[in-house]
Amino acid sequence: MNLSQGVRDNSYKIINIEMPENIERRLQTLGITEGSIVELLNIKKNGTLILKVRGSRFAVGGKIASGIKIRRAEGES
């Protein structure tokens, strides 16, 4: 599944980022990397969401979110 299919108030682990290089680099610089745990704080109908990763919050558009592949993270933090 990808991040835009996530459910509010759940945590996920990023397993892959499938985005053009420049966007992937920007995500990496912000700490949104493969293997990191993200918490979904809010999500809108159009897929735009707020996530918390490594203690920072980011608003991420639906297109970018759908390129971030995730799986449920349970018991991990």
């Binding site: 990397t33 493969e34 704080l41 809108k44 735009t48 707020i50 918390k52 203690g55 920072s56 297109k63």
Partner: protein
């Protein structure tokens, strides 16, 4: 308080270079309080210039530290040091150059994990780094603690806790800078969990796994051979392994079989792994107390309440601008008319002639003073915008508005320049550079001038008071709404024409909410107010004198008969074109033309043109509330000022798009004013 007396902020302005023993660069993530800290040292005495070749602001200040002069440079906020954004490139080039001696890395202690990513990269660059841990008060508030003994041990650099807000630790930080200027290899006492190659590389703070370290060594050797003069080969080797565009182009190497996509990712991940180790060792009571920010965000970014709350906040901002601003404006007007009277008396005493008295009283004091009386309104508006920005709310607006903006083919982030457009079009157009997509940026630049900037405010205040009585505030507020509607409509039409839409690419940090800092806000507001006053003293001064000359001189020389003046001839010549818009009075037309220099000039011109009695002269010409409303709308929509044309030319880098922008503004203004006047005439 510690700072006062000992460290005298001192800046010799006027463009001359300050004699500096030490150049200190401030680097840090956006929203880490870097600028607040910088301001704490330099105060408002800044030299603001642009970085060479780009329009990103470069702030410089200077201070005395014992017998030394430190030159301080505030670098743009950046998350990393790759070459993918302009801020990152600028920071990197500046540090790599020989201009900087010591780097102060400002980190938000309450958000240490992400901030340390930049720290590790700065340490790798090889220049002396001092880590300033800002916002320690927030850390304590949340019941967390940072092991201040262990952190410098692991990073190998001095770590100084500071509070930019409360001005603590400032002296000690500069002390550390003075003593850390020697470029020593950091001493660390830490054994990395990852990789067992640390014996070989123990002198480095950031040690990668064996596989990567081996490759770094190979590339290093290649670099040394091919570029013997290159400093800090390790950093360059890491960047080549990371496949950094800029460094690869600058130092081409055949690294086939050495570099690989997987190492790029591994370098980043291993840095974060190390940060994880640091955090685990130095942070005590992490996440003990849920951040207030999340609770507040439940409402402010709520899918249901988000937009209504935003609209409510904006309504409050304008309400304050008009009510409080108007009270203060009354005092200002009283003060200005006193000056005008006193000057008149003085001039009579000095035996000044009619022409010079008319020039000073009607031309200069009437024109420039007319503008200055709106200073209180402008002050309140910028105060409110500064408050929204410094509290951390501004970036939430990008998220809240992302849905609506998506419908018109723009990212939510494009809403920030539009919102800043309420303050001034020039910085708003500049802010559009935060949009990565060039087409997004262009469309945002084209619609931003429709947002009603503060220079248009005097026009609304003047005409709504004169013609709308009790409904003055409503009439003025409706201009802001009209501006937003036109901007959205324009963006929508552009989306339909270009058939392109770039949505879903929003990416913006939502910083912790914080109590806005007095100093940061006062400096921000002071800069804007200073701008306004400077404009009053330059552009508006010149425009007022020109208008006065056009009105008092005619083909037969100096004349008291305004209808015989050059101004009236020019106005009357163009007036027929403006007939359908309800603006067929030559005084109005002439002030609209002069308003292209700067919007406030419309007010000063019309004041000079009507010799102070605007409502009397205009009413006598059949100019009523409907004409006034059409005039306000026209002023809202046509070219904001000459400076906006220049900045649009610079930012679009295209004469064609600048022309499109100007023509669009003029025709939209003409069409909307005509519709208002014609439809209004039918209905009323």
């Amino acid at each position: 308080m510690l700072l006062e007396g000992k460290l005298h902020p001192e800046l010799k302005s006027g463009g001359q270079r300050v004699k500096a023993n030490l150049n200190v660069g401030f680097v840090g993530n956006p929203n880490c309080g870097k600028t607040t800290l910088f301001n704490a040292y330099t105060g408002a005495k800044l030299k603001v210039a642009n970085w060479p070749g780009v329009t990103v602001e470069k702030k410089e200040g200077a201070m005395r530290y014992h017998d030394n002069t430190f030159k301080l440079v505030d670098l743009p906020g950046t998350y990393g040091l790759s070459s993918y954004t302009m801020e990152e490139q600028l920071t990197r080039q500046y540090i790599l150059g020989d201009e900087v001696d010591v780097i102060i890395d400002v980190a938000d202690a309450s958000n240490l994990e992400r901030n340390l990513y930049l720290t590790l990269q700065l340490i790798e660059l090889g220049k002396p780094v001092v880590l300033a841990l800002n916002m320690m008060d927030i850390v304590t508030e949340r019941g967390m603690e940072i092991d201040m003994h262990r952190l410098p041990e692991m990073l190998g650099i001095p770590v100084i806790p500071v509070s930019a807000r409360h001005k603590t630790g400032l002296d000690i930080l500069m002390h550390a800078v003075a003593h850390h200027k020697e470029n020593k290899v950091p001493v660390t006492e830490h054994q990395h969990k990852s990789g067992d190659n640390y014996f070989k590389h123990e002198k480095y703070v950031m040690v990668y796994s064996d596989e990567i370290e081996e490759r770094i060594d190979i590339i290093k050797a290649m670099l040394k051979k091919k570029y013997p003069d290159l400093k800090n080969t390790r950093w360059h080797a890491i960047k080549i392994l990371e496949n950094d565009r800029e460094i690869r182009e600058e130092y081409p190497l055949n690294t086939e079989g050495i570099t690989d996509k997987k190492y790029e990712k591994a370098i980043i991940n291993e840095k974060y792994d190390f940060i994880q180790e640091i955090i685990e060792e130095v942070m005590v009571n992490r996440n003990e107390k849920a951040a207030l920010t999340d609770k507040v965000d439940k409402y402010l970014t709520s899918n249901i309440f988000g937009i209504p709350i935003f609209l409510g906040i904006m309504a409050l901002v304008f309400f304050l601008t008009f009510t409080i601003g108007d009270v203060l404006k009354g005092w200002m007007e009283y003060f200005l008319s006193a000056i005008s009277d006193k000057t008149g008396l003085l001039l009579d005493l000095a035996g000044a002639g009619t022409i010079s008295k008319s020039l000073i009283i009607e031309g200069i004091i009437g024109g420039v003073g007319g503008i200055l009386s709106f200073l209180p309104n402008i002050f309140i508006l910028f105060l409110a915008l500064a408050f929204l920005e410094d509290s951390g709310y501004m970036s939430r607006v990008a998220y809240v508005m992302d849905g609506i903006m998506g419908k018109i083919g723009l990212s939510g982030r494009a809403f920030i320049p539009m919102l800043l457009g309420f303050g001034c079009t020039v910085p708003a157009v500049l802010a559009s550079r935060a949009l990565e997509n060039p087409k997004d940026k262009l469309r945002t630049i084209l619609v931003t001038p429709f947002m009603s900037c503060s220079a248009r405010l005097p026009i609304y205040v003047m005409f709504s008071h004169l013609f709308f009585g009790n409904f003055a505030m409503l009439a003025a507020f409706s201009m802001y709404v009209l501006g937003i509607v036109i901007a959205i409509l324009a963006a929508y039409i552009m989306k339909k024409i270009s058939k392109e839409s770039n949505t879903g690419n929003l990416l913006i940090e939502l910083p912790e909410y914080k109590k806005p800092n007095k100093r940061t806000i006062s400096i921000y507001v002071w800069e804007k107010v200073k701008d306004y006053i400077t404009r009053a003293g330059t552009t508006i001064f010149v425009a007022s004198v020109i208008i006065w000359a056009l009105l008092n001189f005619g083909p037969s020389g100096y004349t008291k008969e305004m209808s015989e003046s050059f101004g009236s001839y020019i106005g009357k010549f163009i007036t027929p074109i403006f007939k359908p818009t309800g603006l067929g009075q030559w005084q109005v037309v002439l002030s609209l033309i002069s308003g292209i220099a700067a919007k406030e000039v419309v007010v000063s011109s019309i004041t000079v043109l009507c010799q102070g009695n605007v409502s009397g002269v205009l009413t006598a010409m059949g100019f009523g509330p409907l004409n006034a409303y059409a005039l306000m709308a026209f002023c809202l929509l046509y070219v904001p000022c000459a400076a906006s044309i220049v900045i649009i030319r610079k930012e679009t880098n295209s004469a064609k798009w600048t022309l499109v922008s100007v023509m669009m503004q003029l025709s939209v203004a003409y069409i909307v004013a005509t519709i208002i006047y014609q439809v209004g005439s039918l209905v009323l």
